[in-house]
Symmetry: C2
Subunit: 140 residues, 2 copies
């Protein structure tokens, strides 16, 4: 596969999957996985998720920001893994920018609720496979 | 949720998903995820996958056996993470037991093909969530 094809396939796969599998380093150094819905992404580089400040994932990323995202289409034998780092964002301006009103059911105090955090994932490497071909690429 | 309900939900979720997301520790200590089809499982404790001996996953598990499996149903807001250890099995008896004839397309030398390996995952802990409830449980 040419790099252009890889990027096109990877972007299309991300585009049709709002849900991502998020990998983190958990207790005892074991890998952990959780399914999360992204609130926004910029291409294959930046992904934003909303989460509870009190959640296990925030505690894990506070200790170790190493992360990955995975998007998969089992029927098409197609997958994308993005390797990168996760930052916990509590900046009120960023939190307000992503806020959606119906989230008051989760965060009763609104965008300033201290239990509401944004996770910002920055990819630096990707691995895309389709059928039996696969390719690593850098993300800048 | 009572433990009985948790185990019942977890077993049903595994039962209807042949595909699992497999977490490993990759290069630089970053978490990695790959979708894999299991060839067999015994309840929530033992899972078997077939793979290429030359694959990245085998190299990773050879260095660090810490692993997790994840099963998810996004529509039902239901997920199961199993934490455990992955062993690379090259015992010819075990490899023969799982062998399927159509795999010669991947492993031309048959069950004794040195590029054919079995991965054996043994769970020791589980985390099941459904709707907004979640529960950790031990697996023995």
């Amino acid at each position: 596969m040419e790099l252009e094809q890889v990027l096109e396939g990877a972007r299309a796969l991300v585009g049709r999957n709002r849900s991502a599998l998020v990998g983190s380093i958990g207790e005892g150094g074991y890998p952990n996985i959780k399914g999360m819905f992204r609130v926004e992404n910029h291409g294959l580089k930046d992904f934003f998720f909303s989460t509870n400040t009190s959640s296990r994932r925030v505690a894990q990323f506070g200790q170790d920001g190493r992360a990955c995202l995975y998007f998969v289409d089992f029927e098409k034998v197609e997958g994308l893994m993005l390797i990168g780092d996760m930052e916990i964002v509590q900046d009120p301006a960023v939190k307000s920018r992503f806020w959606q009103d119906w989230w008051t059911r989760y965060y009763p105090l609104g965008p300033d609720d201290p239990d509401y955090s944004i996770l910002h994932f920055r990819a630096h490497q990707g691995n895309y496979y389709h059928s039996l071909e696969k390719k690593w690429f850098e993300i800048r």
